[in-house]
């Protein structure tokens, strides 16, 4: 016997991790569904119902969080944060989960995957994503990233009939493990140098003078490398083209949207949060990562004929643009968050559309496969065009405003050369995105086949397109929210 030890759970903490609980319960629910039913259609129906309920619950519980005066709150023994920033990303991930359920279903079945198994693994991955924006110390960060990665390693090779899928899975797993090792090593060095894993404590140590420690520097560099891997920034990007191309499209969509956003959520929290003082030690490295990502990503995408590979390379470039925001002041951070949201919506839409194109088992692979799409399927081509224009950064879409914010903050904080490079490389971006648009609208020899879209899919795609346009025409409201979310970071 001894004195009772109170668990570090305060009232309200459970609400604060509500979205997390919602997806974990949904994931367990998927498993239960798989066990409970034997008929595929029953499994599918219940999978869809549970998934949608889980996503909705996640969104609702995210909104239920009491933000108070806008300051960050530490919960669960100071392991996690609860603030406007987490609410923002919770909503984004909940939306992604819903969109994945509605839009990826066809692609999941086309790749001969069982929806119930696919979505249970995806749900565990989502749980990891919900954690990334919350992580308040290095262990939570590591845990979150591992939790989101593990199911994806499996998912990448989940289409057992696909040879490229297996190759992608293995590459992703091997390289991901290396990256995790690097990240963990960085965390270890950091702990060794400071004796703490807590962001607040680390931030305090870094910003106030005292004993020197190269361990901390090396640790920072390695953590940066580990995060850059998840985000897919150069030179830690090599896995993206092969893995994006090889994985089933439904999984690629998840990687391009969820994983990237989660990596960014973690990176932004890490570099612009309480640890912001450390940013000045790695800003030169970040500068190079940003510059290389923009150049390599866009240049790599330029000559691609495979659509998934093209989007993979372009996602590298977008990672560069987003990280550029972190080099600026708090407005730059807000720009990065804004860009992340716009990017996620646009890519979710773009992949959503891509997943419906295809003939029987075969998906459309190359840019030329889209020839003449507009003639046969004008509406979906229009939606696709909106998403592509947003990714290319052409007004009146959100992509333009996002780039404007990012470049603007870069220029304001003196990174004029970087902003110039950003503008130049985004011109290349316009080139390859427009290649798809041209294929769809201005060539008519092709006969691309479109799978049947359910009314729900139309609604979701329409909403995504509308929000992309709304973010381009009326950026004000989200910009304000993002700014207060960023304020709550520090």
């Amino acid at each position: 016997m001894g004195t009772p030890i109170p668990l570090p759970i305060m009232p309200g903490d459970l609400t604060a991790i509500g979205p997390l609980l919602a997806v974990v319960i949904a994931a367990a629910g998927f498993l239960a569904v798989d066990m409970a039913f034997t008929r595929e259609e029953l499994k599918n129906r219940w999978t869809f119902i549970i998934g949608i309920i889980g996503a909705a619950l996640a969104a609702v519980t995210a909104l239920m969080l009491d933000i108070g005066t806008g300051e960050s709150r530490l919960i669960l023994g100071e392991a996690l944060y609860a603030d406007l920033y987490t609410v923002f990303f919770d909503l984004l991930f909940a939306l992604l989960m819903g969109a994945s359920l509605v839009l990826s279903w066809t692609a999941v079945e086309r790749a001969r995957m069982k929806p119930v198994e696919f979505y249970s693994l995806a749900a565990f991955s989502f749980a990891g994503m919900f954690l990334t924006s919350r992580a308040a110390d290095l262990l939570s960060l590591f845990l979150a990233i591992e939790l989101l990665s593990m199911p994806l390693y499996v998912l990448a090779g989940f289409a057992t009939t696909s040879k490229t899928g297996r190759e992608a899975a293995l590459k992703y797993f091997v390289l991901g493990s290396v990256a995790s090792a690097i990240l963990l090593f960085g965390i270890a060095l950091m702990y060794g140098g400071t004796g703490s894993i807590d962001y607040v404590e680390l931030g305090a140590q870094v910003s106030s003078g005292g004993r020197d420690s190269p361990l901390v520097l090396a640790g920072l560099a390695l953590i940066l490398a580990g995060l850059a891997f998840k985000v897919g920034a150069v030179p830690f990007h090599m896995w993206t083209p092969d893995v994006y191309e090889g994985s089933p499209t439904a999984v690629t969509a998840l990687m391009a949207t969820g994983v990237k956003a989660a990596g960014l959520a973690a990176a932004i929290r890490f570099l612009a949060g309480p640890m912001a003082a450390a940013l000045s030690y790695v800003s030169v490295m970040l500068w190079w990562i940003v510059a290389l990502s923009m150049v390599v990503g866009n240049a790599g995408a330029m000559l691609q004929s495979n659509v998934k590979r093209l989007l993979a390379y372009s996602s590298i470039a977008h990672a560069g643009y987003i990280l550029m925001g972190l080099l600026g002041d708090s407005l730059g951070t807000a720009a990065a968050v804004y860009y992340t949201a716009v990017y996620v919506l646009s890519v979710a839409g773009a992949f959503g559309v891509v997943q419906y194109f295809g003939d029987g088992d075969r998906e459309l692979e190359t840019v030329d496969d889209f020839n003449g799409a507009a003639k046969r399927h004008p509406w979906i081509s229009l939606l696709f065009t909106i998403f592509l224009l947003s990714l290319a950064g052409i007004p009146p879409t959100g992509g333009f405003v996002a780039k404007f914010f990012v470049f603007g903050s870069a220029i304001q904080t003196g990174h004029i050369g970087l902003a110039l490079l950003g503008v130049l490389t985004s011109v290349i971006g316009i080139y390859y995105y427009l290649r798809l648009v041209i294929a769809m609208w201005m060539k008519d020899e092709g006969r691309p086949v479109l799978a049947e879209l359910s009314p729900t899919s139309w609604v979701v795609l329409g909403l995504l397109a509308a929000s992309v346009l709304a973010l381009g025409c009326m950026p004000g409201w989200l910009w304000l929210i993002v700014q207060s979310a960023v304020v709550s970071l520090v």
Binding site: L170, K171, V174, L175, V178, A179, I182, G193, T194, A204, Q205, V206, S208, G209, G210, R211, D212, S213, P214, V216, L217, A218, L220, A221, L222, L224, A225, A228, F229, P235, F236, M238, W239, P241, D242, A278, Y281, V282, V284, M285, V295, V296, N298, A299, G300, M302, L303, Q304, I428, Y431
Partner: protein
Amino acid sequence: MTGETLLALVVGFPLLGAVFNGFFGRFHGRRLAGYLACGAMAMAFLSALGAVKDLAGLDPQVRTIHKHLYTWIDASTFKVDMALTLDPLSAVMILVVTGVGFLIHVYSIGYMAHDDGRVRYFTYLNLFVFFMLMLVLGSSLPVMFLGWEGVGLCSYLLIGFWFDDIAKAVAGKKAFLVNRIGDMFFVLGMFLLFWTYHAVGSGSLAFADMQANAELIQAAKIGGVAVTSLAAFCLFLGATGKSAQIPLFVWLPDAMAGPTPVSALIHAATMVTAGVYMVARMNFLFEMSPGVMSLVAWVGALTALFAATIGMAATDIKKVLAYSTISQLGYMFVAVGVGSYVAGIFHLVTHAFFKGLLFLGAGSVIHGVTTQDIRQMGGVRHKMPWTFWTFLVGTWAIAGLPPFAGFFSKDEILFHAYAGPHGSVPLWFIGYLTGAMTAFYMFRLFALVFLGKTRMSKKEYGKVHESPATMTVPLAILAGLSAIGGLMGLPHAFHMPHLLGDWLAPVFPEFHVAAGAGTELGLMAASVAAAIAGSLLALYFYFKKGYVPVPDNGKASLPASVARDKFYIDEVYDGLVVMPMKAIARFLSATVDAAGVDRVASGWLPGLAGWISKGVTALQNGNTQRYAMALFAGAVALIVYVSLFGVRVPLA
């Protein structure tokens, strides 16, 4: 309904009409399009009446109604509200625009009855009215500019309405381009004003704010020149574009390529007066720069004289009216230039009545006769009695013969040009001379069209017929307005109230005339005499003696042929402006663009990008070991970087 709501409805109805006809016109058919457009105009006119009635109920000192619709631009220090302001000045304008506009819409139903493009026509016409109302009601310079550009667009669309005829399409283009030069100066003036006001801490371009802070910018200078003068000069150049004054008048005669009701509405009654309205609206700015004021007056006077000279030799019924419009607009600029804004607006209103009437009359004649050449008309009087009588009223009014509208307004301008504080005898004399010439060329036109024996073939003459009621009724109403319109501005010498002057008094600075009633009456007598002389002379030559102007290729006296060829202004502009521009454009396109920019932008840069792209994709060879290697190398590079160049992290 409150005044504010009514104000929004005034601009709302024409927009609604345009949107409805524009988007659904092909479903509801051509006939309905005209009725919808007229209905929208009628509603707009009634709303305008209601709004003005509300305005009149206010105390004269606070006589404005402000309607904030939404915030158009909000860029920290630069904020523009999409707002409408009704004050006595814009009240006069909206009544003219919606009232005369409504009549011309009704007339158009008859005039365009056989045209296949009616839906498009009425869409444009309603859209024009919407933009014109935005122009006059806009509470700030940017909103006014929105209307300014909008009416320019509609003008372009309607001049080139029959665009299958290449000459008409070209005329539309010319109008657009010439206006563009003026618009550029308008924008420059607006920039100057924003820059100056912003420097003194008030970045608002709302008229009320600018007027309130006018004193703050009085001392501002740019390279030794007062900014106020520079801005006023730029704005005035903008006005010369829209209001067809020297040097940018050349587009208006060509603009007659559009349907005649369009000429009546846009190129006589409303749009072309926008420049006058703008100068009157910005009077506080122009008052601060006397030099620009006298420039305005002199440009107006010279334009009036110059256009009248060409008008005496023109042989196309619409061209004559076009030049007379330019000439009359010159009068209005004389008025605002000497600071007599009331007289300028007064003439603007009466001109809208009688010139609208004349154009519609001309349209009616063209409708019946199917030619525009006055040398091939004559004797139309007997076939078209309604048109004849109403046209006579219009001619009477524009000639400045009492007691019709034109007499009072023109006379007020001449009196103020003579005796006003900024006036002078030469200015008056030019106006006086122009008055006599106006009477001459208008009665020349009248005689050649309506009087004497017909010069048409018997078959053609037999086909001439009176226009339908939709056209004659508006003619009659406008004739009535032209006849009695002068009552709203009786001369002070008559010891009667100047209704328009009293109504507009809160908007404009006070205007004192030193000379007394005697001078006024004397000048009046002189100009009436000149008008009578001009009219009689014209009737003598072209009715009594039956002269007919020579054919275009015929021999004429030197002055007459120079006037007939419009003083070769078009040719001079062509040589001085258009040709050099084309040469520069050719140089830029062939040399700079094709050989320079294109080679770099579409040859070298993509080459470079493609080269990088090949390098990047070559690295990506699918080998996992290499990928891991790159990952590792990256991490090592980061470590090496922090080891060699990293600043020590100070720890607590």
